[in-house]
Amino acid sequence: MWSFSNIANQLHYWLNDHFSPTLTLIIEMVLAGVAVIGLFAGLGLVLVIMERKVSAWIQLRLGPNRVGPKGMLQSLADTFKLLLKEGMTPSGADKIMFNVAPFIAMIVAMLLLAPIAFAKDFQLWDLNIGVLYVSAISSVSVISILMAGWSSNNKYSLMGAMRSGAQIVSYELSAGLSVLAVIVMTGSLQVSDIIHSQADGWWIFKGHIPMFIAFVTFIIAVTAETNRAPFDLAEAESELTAGFHTEYSGMKFALFFLAEYVNVFIVCALGATLFLGGWMPFHIGNWEGFNHVMDYIPSSVWFFGKTFFLIWLIMWFRWTFPRLRIDQLLNLEWKYLLPISMVNLLLVTLMAILKWHF
């Protein structure tokens, strides 16, 4: 059957036939790097146009409809425009930090793409602590925001960065706890293990209500972690003009923008992997016939279907809800989400010990 892994294997054999093993390794690494950069740019473009179309649909508008068929090339045109713009640095800014910050945001987003399984046997790096790696690296992204806010020499940027710092540090807790729920059930941090453990049903169905609660807290927490509305206090447009990236323009602004969208993709892919089975088709226990029919749908379609469903959910939030206030935001985390996810983790642990799940 046609799959990404077959192509990768063919390429591997072909390279081994023609080059020395060392050179093959180097070429494969370069190819993987190019693929990640391509994916980064491609995802950014797709998600931007998707956001604009989704928002237009919610807001009774048409959205972009001039460049290309149904406006699908609009974000490409915008990228060219941003590339050609002058990258300004404000005179009072800390030049090094100001210019490095967007690249840190971008590098973090790229690193996070590594352990995600896009399809069956199609994964850049299946390291044994995949989920821990994602939560560790994703917390680095707050540094880029703090750097951008501090070095801009702008009070709005500074306030946005401080808000963002408080927000990401708080919400990482409940995001981590809800991820732990899945890890307790699976007994492994490896992404491929987590996916294979869902071969007879996704965790959101197998894990009863506690798993569903974990899923909901995860979605809320990652929406906050990626600074998306209703938790977009870091760039709260009507309060702080554009928050931490007020002073950025041109491609440096675009990098923040792209990194935000790629981060949304990553957290949604992670959510799909942990709770909705990643590339695993929809299986029910040991219904052989049904499971077999579901297997006919390619695994990449399953993965991207689930991920884009979650992305759409997060976009729906953004265009529906008003923004929270900073104290309400922190109250929500420390007074509600954190206790709920702690008790929930206890329940999940009990469930895992007593084997109450399906």
Binding site: S55, M159, P230, L233, S238, E239, W319, F321, P322, R323
Partner: protein, 373 residues
């Protein structure tokens, strides 16, 4: 010349930020110097004058027929009601008798303007709170009103439809049908407003117990309109000092007693329904007859002072004309609702968070050209 305080200054350990004159939340060129302690507001100092066009002075060099149209540019969202106030004041000076048809048309147009203004306020306020979608939903209804206005008055925003003695021309033949269509559309869609914004938990948390304005403070600061009625102060000019045919119409003065942002929000939402009530009573009962009283080509007010007030979408608009008997007024003074409503901002914003300030400015419904004139 700039005064030193108008530019960013450091005040000890406090953070001073300038919100405006170019800022997405001020919806105009309002400049607020905000002293912050972390996220908590210690002081709000509004700086005015960025859009001062000396409208009062301009009016003094224009004839009584001409100056009405300049006032459309004061509170551009209720341009019609501004014109109405000026026309009323001139008619008071001339002692004109207005034909009943003109009165009905004026009231109809006023109430349509009020709904259009509140629609825009609703969308813009939700946008201040970070919800972008309501803006487009509000404009869907507002667009039908501006279409009606365009057909009859010839303009969509600055209508300039009022003249001393009545209105400029008769209603468009399809006016009644279009207004009825609008009423149907409005009633079909109004529940979306509650579902999308009013009932939202985040929205209610943002609005309730925020920016409390006591009735005493509302009176002493001269706050009028929906902002004062949210504190339970009876101040609807249409009820207290009825003009035109308002005393013959059945409608309620909307009062809320909360005094917080949410009460002010609810007053405006409910006020739209009251306006709908008024339109429903009038739309089938527009009296036949002249749409304009007979007036002289050149108007001359007798020597003296004249004052009228009307209820605009934002509050009480007073027009004060001093006449020396000539063709132009000797002195004109507008008592604009926005100015007094802005003055209370510092009082209610102290101690709350920066995010709340935006919500308060939203519910005070500030229109900056109205404040500056």
């Amino acid at each position: 010349m700039y005064r030193e305080t108008e530019i960013v200054t450091d005040m000890g350990n406090d953070l001073v930020i300038n919100v405006g004159p170019q800022h997405p939340a001020t919806h105009g060129v309002l400049h607020l110097v905000i002293t912050l302690n972390g996220e908590t507001i210690k002081k709000v100092e509004p700086h005015l004058g960025y859009i001062h066009r000396s409208i009062e002075k301009m009016c003094e060099s224009l004839t009584y027929r001409q100056f009405i149209y300049v006032t459309s540019r004061m509170d551009y969202l209720s341009a019609h009601i501004n014109n109405h106030a000026c026309a009323l004041c001139i008619e008071k000076g001339l002692g004109l008798e207005i034909p009943p048809r003109a009165q009905a048309i004026r009231v109809l147009m006023d109430e349509l303007t009020r709904i259009a203004s509140h629609e825009l306020w609703w969308g813009a306020m939700a946008m201040d709170l970070g919800a972008f979608t309501p803006f487009f939903h509000a404009f869907r209804e507002r667009e039908t009103i501006t279409d009606i206005m365009e057909e009859t008055c010839g303009a969509r925003l600055t209508m300039n439809y009022m003249v001393p003695g009545g209105v400029m021309q008769d209603l468009h033949p399809s006016f009644q049908q279009k207004v009825k269509d609008f009423l149907v559309l409005y009633k079909r869609k109004i529940h979306e407003y509650d579902e999308m914004v009013t009932g939202n938990v985040i929205f209610q948390n943002r609005m309730k117990n925020v920016g409390y304005l006591s009735p005493e403070d509302a009176i002493s600061y001269g706050v009028t309109g929906p902002s004062a009625r949210g504190s339970g102060v009876k101040c609807d000019i249409r009820k207290l000092y009825p003009y035109e045919i308002y005393d013959k119409l059945q409608f309620d003065e909307v009062l809320e007693t909360g005094g917080d942002s949410f009460a002010r929000y609810m007053v405006r939402l409910r006020e739209m329904n009251e306006s709908i009530k008024i339109i429903e009573q009038l739309i089938d009962n527009i009296p036949e007859g002249d749409f304009q009283a007979k007036t002289k080509a050149v108007l001359k007010l007798p020597k003296g002072e004249f004052y009228t007030r009307v209820e605009t979408a934002r509050g009480e608009l007073g027009v004060y004309i001093v006449s020396e008997g000539g063709t132009t007024p000797y002195r004109i003074k507008f008592r604009s609702p926005g100015f007094s409503n802005l003055s209370v901002l510092d009082h209610i914003a102290r101690g709350s968070k920066l995010g709340d300030l935006v919500a308060m400015m939203g519910t005070l419904d500030l229109v900056i050209p109205d404040i500056d004139r």
